[in-house]
């Protein structure tokens, strides 16, 4: 209780207006969460449980109907440069080269792109697409595009990285490569990470803590600390400890689901 959490969610609820229903559609119900500096938290839950809504609220893209989000103790009122986003899709600008896409955050903040060029190239190198800096998105595969998006999110050294199912559209091999790249970068950057996913194994392998949300309306059902030491290795994914953890999360998920398996 001593250190100030990097990111704190206090009693956040959210609902969307619904035709014919004065209360609307409740998607998040009283979510509370504290993320320590440098911590990697994964949030899992069934689709439709409000994971993405929660992340958008965390990033200041959406104002919660109730409750608040604190970044370093200060209420989040809108997007800030301290937070970097990676979305489900790469969302690159097709008319810009990979390098110019990575430089976009600096440009929009009216900082001289020249100052960030070396860093952008270094980041592209780190995510494994250094050779493609001059290519247009159309010339890159989906995995390579998402690597560029990751580099873009890190350009201005955000202290918090928010990722919304960033690897869900990729094949298993590419996904594993990108997960390793992410772990490497996050360790280098000492960033605090909130990672949304519906893939339990992904969550358990990447995170320090896995948060399970209930089906809609989403609330924190259970928190699972991940006992695996860092740096994470591929071998850990096949350890018994890991299997037991993912099994526990899966069973907890089934127990809460209305369509859950009995017994």
């Amino acid at each position: 209780m001593s250190a100030l959490p990097k990111l704190a969610v206090e009693g956040v609820s959210h609902w969307f207006p619904l035709d014919g229903d004065p209360l609307g559609l409740l998607v998040l119900a009283d979510v509370n969460l504290a993320v320590a500096p440098g911590e990697f938290v994964a949030i899992v839950g069934e689709s439709g449980c409000g994971k993405t809504t929660l992340l958008r609220i965390l990033g200041g893209l959406l104002r919660p109907a109730a409750g608040r989000v604190l970044l370093d103790g200060q209420p989040v009122a809108g997007p800030t440069a301290a937070m970097g986003f990676v979305f489900q899709r790469p969302v690159l600008l097709e008319w810009r080269t990979a390098l110019d896409n990575v430089l976009l955050p600096a440009e929009l903040a009216h900082e001289p792109p020249g100052r960030y060029r070396a860093r952008a190239l270094e980041l592209l190198e780190l995510v494994g697409v250094g050779a493609f800096a001059a290519r247009y998105p159309r010339q890159l595969s989906g995995g390579m595009q998402q690597r560029v998006a990751l580099a873009r999110a890190l350009l201005r050294r955000p202290s918090v990285l928010l990722l919304d199912e960033p690897f869900s559209a990729l094949d298993a091999i590419t996904r594993e490569q990108l997960q390793l790249a992410l772990l490497r970068l996050v360790a280098l950057q000492e960033a605090t990470v909130v990672f949304i996913t519906h893939d339990i194994a992904e969550a358990a392998w990447l995170a320090d803590r896995v948060l399970l949300l209930t089906p809609r309306p989403g609330r924190v059902q259970q928190v699972f600390p991940v006992p695996l030491p860092r740096p994470r290795t591929l071998e850990q994914r096949y350890s018994e400890q890991f299997a037991a953890l993912t099994r526990a999360i899966r069973l907890a998920m089934l127990g809460a689901s209305p369509a859950g398996v009995k017994g």
Partner: protein, 285 residues
Amino acid sequence: MATSPPGLPDASPTGTAHRVSPPPPSPAAGTGWRCRRALEPALSLLLFVGLLVAWEAFVRLRGLPRLVLPGPLVVAQALADGLGAGYLWPHIGTTLGEILLGFLAGSALGIGLGALVAQSALLRRVLNPYIIASQAMPKLALAPIFVVWFGFGLTPKVVITALIAFFPLFENTLTGLHDVDPDQVELFRALRASRWDTFVKLRLPHAVPYLFAGLRVAMVLSVVGAVVGEFVGANRGLGALIIAAQGTMDTPQMFAVFVVLTVLGVALYALVEFAERWCTRWRYP
């Protein structure tokens, strides 16, 4: 109009925007691709020669007088005479000037007003019925009144050409600025981009292919506008020359002007296409 440009026009929600042409097929599409691409121009040329031969044969076999339908050889002769003696050139210059002035003025106005109206959803909704009505109205029908207002000189032709070029650009600018991927808008929001930066760095570049689709249509329509403007009242220009040739029953001369107009239209269209390919290099890796 001699030919309708490929892929245009298409229907849009408001029934008027011109769709962006799809990017060319990737070179990986089939092994015979390279070979076939090399053969295509040769086939086109062969077809052209075949059509000319058929035309000449038809005219000769039916013994048609040149007043009704001159053969390609007679037309070529008239064309060579007109270009060689030099009397075609000033008319070409006049018409080309009208086309370019009208095209540039109309496009600039269309893009400018389109960008302005795109700033406000309210303005767009209020103006929408007028946009559709003005699209539906045949602009060429206004040519006679323009003669009344602006006389027989350059002005009425430029005005009608500009009016015709205006609408495809206006409509496509609106559509192009508006059709941006919502996720990209969200990205700009997350990066705290100003409204101006979102316009200049997201909406405008996104609209460029739409603008060029509009420019291609506007270019071809501009030729029609200038010629029809000349039909209604002019003593110079290729349209005036057609009317004069009709008066003297000089059909080969009329055909020679058709050829000049077609070449002019194709060349101008190719110019816009060239500019498009250069400005949207990222679509053709």
